[in-house]
């Protein structure tokens, strides 16, 4: 029933190594959105879409070009749950933790997911494949419990369905 993933203390919270960042690419992104009113969130989204996270080394660039302090930029990045400051695993698994899914067994599914991946929420499985994130509502509340793997939504997720979906992702590598 369990996923065939090694479990144990050494596997949790694996942080993939920080790749080098193409700052020219980041500059081009910032310049694209710079003149937009309220450009900050669109800039941050575009950087995360391109790089998978918002590297700390980009903060001075954003601050400089949006005419803000680095503290202000860091403040915005750290305020929003969606923005990542470190790279994630290859796939992001979001499990809904909110009431409608709770009513359908989301807490038990969360325990299963943690055990299967050998990591807690915000952690990454030891093989770097899956980062587990909580999400508070995917808007599929009549068909819980719900999860999203990368861009794909899945409703009525049982433990078996969870295992099957992750196995499929693994197989598709």
């Amino acid at each position: 029933m369990k996923m065939h993933i090694k479990q144990g203390a050494q596997v949790s919270q694996a942080v993939p190594s920080q790749p080098s960042v193409d700052l020219d690419q980041v500059n081009a992104i910032i310049q694209k959105y710079q003149t937009m009113p309220g450009a900050m969130l669109p800039v941050l989204h575009a950087i995360q879409d391109a790089l998978g996270y918002i590297p700390p080394s980009t903060v001075p660039l954003i601050a400089d070009q949006l005419n803000l302090s680095r503290a202000e930029v860091h403040g915005v990045i750290s305020f929003y749950h969606y923005f990542r400051q470190q790279p994630a695993g290859r796939h992001i698994v979001q499990l809904c933790r909110a009431e409608a899914c709770q009513a359908m067994g989301a807490d038990a599914l969360a325990e299963h997911a943690k055990a299967a991946l050998g990591c807690d929420f915000h952690g990454t499985s030891s093989d770097g494949q899956f980062t587990l994130e909580p999400v508070y509502c995917l808007g599929q509340c009549a068909c819980g419990p719900n999860m999203q793997i990368d861009d794909d939504l899945h409703a009525r997720v049982s433990n078996d369905k969870f295992n099957r979906l992750l196995r499929a992702k693994r197989g598709a590598l």
């Binding site: 009113p37 309220g38 450009a39 900050m40 969130l41 669109p42 941050l44 989204h45 949006l66 202000e72 403040g75 915005v76 305020f79 929003y80 749950h81 969606y82 923005f83 809904c96 909110a98 009431e99 409608a100 899914c101 709770q102 009513a103 359908m104 999400v135 508070y136 509502c137 995917l138 808007g139 599929q140 509340c141 009549a142 068909c143 819980g144 719900n146 861009d151 939504l153 899945h154 409703a155 009525r156």
Partner: protein
């Protein structure tokens, strides 16, 4: 060759989450194999989610439904000649005749599930843009008056009269005004905004355009939560189509009016559903709540007069303009006029979207529409109005769903989400979760919310631990709730105590054995 038969497979994200994409692919493949001509339309969802993916076929008698269809069922559907409405174990008959749908009063959701959401022609063929055309013939004050007269109140949860907001913005003197749509639908148990955006995006665009004409705004933003990528994609595509057909942009339908509309993506902060936090976020800042006054209608986005309304409020405007305020206010009761799209969620057998006039009882929704729990066990509690709504026991199920009637029993309607729990629910755990959620999502500006929520989790842990001082701890929890209710800056801190106190009041037995002090 005979003419192609139209087959509908929804593109709504719940249908996708249940495999609609694979079903659509299987239908196309089977049709090709069998040399049959079909015209596949990706419609919205009818909102009967236990039937998704719900496949429909257009026949002379009307649209015949089959569901829930799995990819493996598709070959047998063709074998049963479903293209001619043939019998099959998944056959549902005429979709419009399914009681769940037939017994609704769909005004805002009239087109949802019927049309192709991204087809402007389909929208126009189903009364689309009739509201805007009428608004273009009226002076702006008359448009505002129509919305005022309709009795429409904010559907996001606060229930403030929409027309009064508009009137304030109309009266404000400024070169620049904004229309902002609050599409940060973060309440668990709600999905009506999502359905409008995915399944009938032109309706929201039309509503915002009418708002812009009414108050003299030239720029609009739809702030959509990042958890709704399908809604963002549908809106962007619909906006692009509306622009190229002069329903948006400069000289709308040949008039002197200009309205530019843009989608902005949130970033996973529940608090950004609070209107002033949303405006901060749109400006590129942390989503921290602003003190009011000034009201957004006077000093809103970038300090300019701003109409900020929920998706359903704005989506209700086209039909109000098209059919008139009197038509709309004819639905509903008391001071709750019109209809509310309610959402049946959680542990419910027939979950989905039910649009009814205000005044329907909770029991009618839970039993007549919802069919009780999905698990088959008795319903123990329902949470109406999202994470900030109280938990209601069975004894209150005959309450009418109307803003005032709900408030009279200590409840709230909020955004119309109803989350059902069966008798396995632990209400102390739900109370703890309410505090924990507030601790995670608080913007941090005011102390009662930021600190109170964390203290709340701790106190509930002490209560359920069965310590000797349990009675004192319950006093403390009620005292803390009182501070949060009266001392918080916005609804996040002031309403988080509602689920907590309702759990304590209605389900004291869940807070360990021993007597719970109800009077405190």
């Amino acid at each position: 060759m005979s003419t192609a038969i139209t087959v509908y497979v929804p593109r709504d994200s719940t249908a996708l989450a249940l495999g609609a994409e694979q079903v659509a692919a299987a239908i196309v493949q089977q049709a090709q194999q069998r040399g049959l001509a079909i015209n596949l339309v990706r419609n919205g969802s009818r909102g009967m989610f236990w039937l998704e993916p719900l496949v429909e076929v257009a026949t002379a008698a009307g649209r015949i439904g089959y569901g829930p269809v799995e990819p493996d069922d598709v070959a047998s559907l063709f074998d049963a000649d479903f293209l001619a409405g043939g019998q099959h174990r998944l056959a549902l008959g005429l979709v419009e005749e399914i009681p769940y749908l037939k017994n609704q009063e769909r005004l805002t959701f009239a087109r949802v599930g019927v049309t192709d959401p991204l087809s402007l022609d389909d929208y126009l063929a189903h009364e689309g843009y009739a509201g805007l055309r009428r608004a273009l013939e009226l002076p702006s004050a008359a448009v505002v008056q129509e919305v005022l007269d309709s009795g429409l109140r904010g559907r996001g949860g606060a229930a403030f009269p929409t027309g009064i907001k508009w009137k304030t913005v109309l009266g404000a003197q400024s070169q620049q005004k904004y229309i902002v749509c609050n599409a940060d639908e973060g309440d668990s148990g709600t999905f009506s905004d999502r359905m409008v955006m995915e399944d009938d995006p032109f309706m929201l665009i039309e509503g915002m355009t009418i708002a812009a004409l009414a108050v003299g705004a030239s720029q609009g933003y739809i702030y959509v939560r990042s958890e709704y990528p399908h809604a963002i994609a549908a809106l962007n595509q619909a906006i692009s189509t509306a622009n190229s057909h002069h329903y948006l942009g400069e000289n709308i339908l040949g008039s002197p009016h200009t309205f530019h509309l843009e989608v902005r993506k949130g970033a996973g902060a529940y608090i950004c559903g609070e209107e002033t936090a949303l405006l901060e976020s749109l400006e590129g800042k942390r989503g921290v709540v602003r003190a009011k006054p000034p009201l957004p209608a006077i000093e809103g986005l970038f300090g300019k007069p701003t109409v900020i309304n929920n998706v359903i409020s704005l989506a209700s405007v086209p039909i109000i303009l098209a059919r008139g305020a009197a038509f709309y206010k004819n639905y509903g009761m008391g001071r709750s006029l019109g209809t509310l799209p309610m959402q049946l969620a959680g542990n419910i057998r027939y979950g989905g979207l039910v649009e009814k006039a205000f005044g329907v009882t909770l029991r009618e929704l839970l039993i007549d529409f919802g069919g009780g729990t999905a698990s088959g066990k008795p319903i123990r509690a329902v949470q109406v109005g999202g994470p900030l709504g109280p938990y209601l026991p069975e004894s209150l199920f005959d309450t009418k769903l109307d803003y005032e009637a709900m408030a009279a029993v200590g409840g709230m309607l909020g955004h119309g989400g109803i989350v059902v729990f069966d008798d396995s629910v632990d209400m102390a755990r739900q109370a703890r979760y309410a505090m924990q959620f507030c601790a995670i999502e608080s913007c941090g500006k005011c102390t009662p919310c930021r600190i109170g929520s964390t203290r709340g989790v701790e106190v509930i842990d002490k209560i359920v631990a069965g310590r000797a001082d349990k009675i004192q701890q319950i006093h403390l929890l009620r005292d803390l709730c009182d501070t949060m209710i009266n001392g918080s800056l916005c609804a996040m801190g002031s309403m988080t105590p509602l689920p907590v106190l309702s759990a304590l009041d209605h389900f004291p037995e869940d807070f360990a054995s021993g007597a719970v002090d109800k009077a405190a």
